[in-house]
C-alpha cells in the first residue's frame, strides 16, 4: 500500500477481541499500574466502579495496534494518536475496534483516521484520531 492508494472513507477493521481479566492484569503489571481498579473487582467496587476496568493506556494500546496492523509492513508510521475515554471499558467482554480514513494530505503524505472501541451494545467507549505518515 502506498499513500496514493489510501482513500477517504476506507474502513479499518472491524476487529473483535475478547479481553479477559487476566489479560487486563497482565497489561497493568507490564505497565506499572497496580491500582486495584485494574487488578481486582472488589478493590474497584470500593472505588465506586462496577468492577475491574481496563487502564486507559490499554485501550489506547489496542487502538494503536489496530492502526499499526493496518500499516503492516508498508513504508509508513503512526506519528500521532489521540484518545478520549468516554465510558470505562470492562474486561470479560467482547470489544470491537474499528476506524475509517477521514482525510488525506498529499503535501505531507499523511492521512487521518477516526478510530474507536465499541462494546456489545455498539456503544462507543473510547474514541480517537490517528495520523499516519507515508514515506516519500
Amino acid at each position: 500500500m502506498r499513500f496514493e492508494d489510501v482513500q477517504i472513507g476506507t474502513a479499518i477493521g472491524p476487529e473483535e477481541i475478547f479481553i479477559s481479566k487476566d489479560q487486563t492484569r497482565m497489561y497493568a503489571r507490564s505497565s506499572g499500574l497496580d491500582a486495584p481498579r485494574f487488578t481486582d473487582d472488589e478493590g474497584a467496587k470500593k472505588e465506586g466502579l462496577p468492577g475491574m476496568i481496563l487502564p486507559g493506556n490499554m485501550s489506547l494500546s489496542l487502538l494503536t495496534k489496530l492502526v499499526t496492523d493496518w500499516i503492516g509492513n508498508n513504508d509508513a508510521r503512526m506519528i500521532r494518536l489521540g484518545t478520549t475515554y468516554r465510558v470505562p471499558v470492562q474486561p470479560d467482554h467482547t470489544l470491537t475496534l474499528q476506524g475509517f480514513i477521514t482525510n488525506t494530505y498529499p503535501d505531507t503524505r499523511q492521512c487521518e483516521i477516526d478510530i474507536w472501541i465499541e462494546n456489545e451494545e455498539a456503544e462507543r467507549l473510547v474514541t480517537g484520531t490517528a495520523t499516519v505518515e507515508f514515506s516519500k
Partner: protein
C-alpha cells in the same frame, strides 16, 4: 473561569531518573496487548525491517510514569482526577537498550460545563527523552476533575 497560578504553566518540576528499556519489557508489553507484528516481536524479521531491529510498539511510550513528586505541584479541583484521554506524538522509535527519562509540566487548565455539570481539565504534557537526549515522544494527559 477556573482559578490557577499562570506561573504554573509549562514549568518543569521534576525529570525522572532514566528507566531502562529491555527486550523482555517490550515482550511482556506485546504479550499483554496481543501484539504479533514482527517489527515489535521478532528479532530476526525486524533486523531486515526499516529500523534494523525490534522497536517498541508506539503505545509503549505511555508506560513511563511521572516523577514521584510531580503531582504535588498540580492543582486539585474537587475529587481526584479521572483519566479523560491522551494525545501521543511519536517522534522517534524506542528501542531495547534505550533509557528513557520523562519531564512533565502542566500545559493548560480549562473548564467546561456540560449536562452533567462543570468539569475542570488539567492537561499535563510529558516529554520523553532517550539517553542521547533526543525527544522520542510528547504525551498530553487530560485529567478531568469535578469541583
Amino acid at each position: 473561569m477556573v482559578d490557577f497560578d499562570p506561573e504554573l504553566i509549562n514549568r518543569i518540576f521534576e525529570t525522572t531518573e532514566p528507566v531502562p528499556v529491555t527486550r523482555e519489557k517490550i515482550a511482556k508489553f506485546c504479550a499483554a496487548i496481543g501484539e504479533t507484528n514482527p517489527l515489535f516481536t521478532d528479532d530476526e524479521a525486524a533486523k531486515k525491517g526499516p529500523y534494523g531491529g525490534v522497536i517498541a510498539p508506539p503505545s509503549y511510550a505511555t508506560t513511563f510514569r511521572n516523577g514521584r513528586h510531580f503531582f504535588q505541584h498540580v492543582p486539585r479541583y474537587g475529587r481526584a482526577g479521572m483519566d479523560a484521554g491522551k494525545d501521543v506524538e511519536i517522534i522517534a522509535p524506542i528501542r531495547p537498550g534505550d533509557t528513557i527519562s520523562l519531564s512533565s509540566a502542566v500545559k493548560e487548565i480549562y473548564d467546561k460545563t456540560g449536562r452533567s455539570g462543570t468539569m475542570v481539565f488539567v492537561v499535563v504534557r510529558s516529554t520523553l527523552r532517550n539517553q542521547k537526549n533526543e525527544i522520542v515522544a510528547h504525551i498530553d494527559h487530560r485529567f478531568m476533575n469535578r469541583p
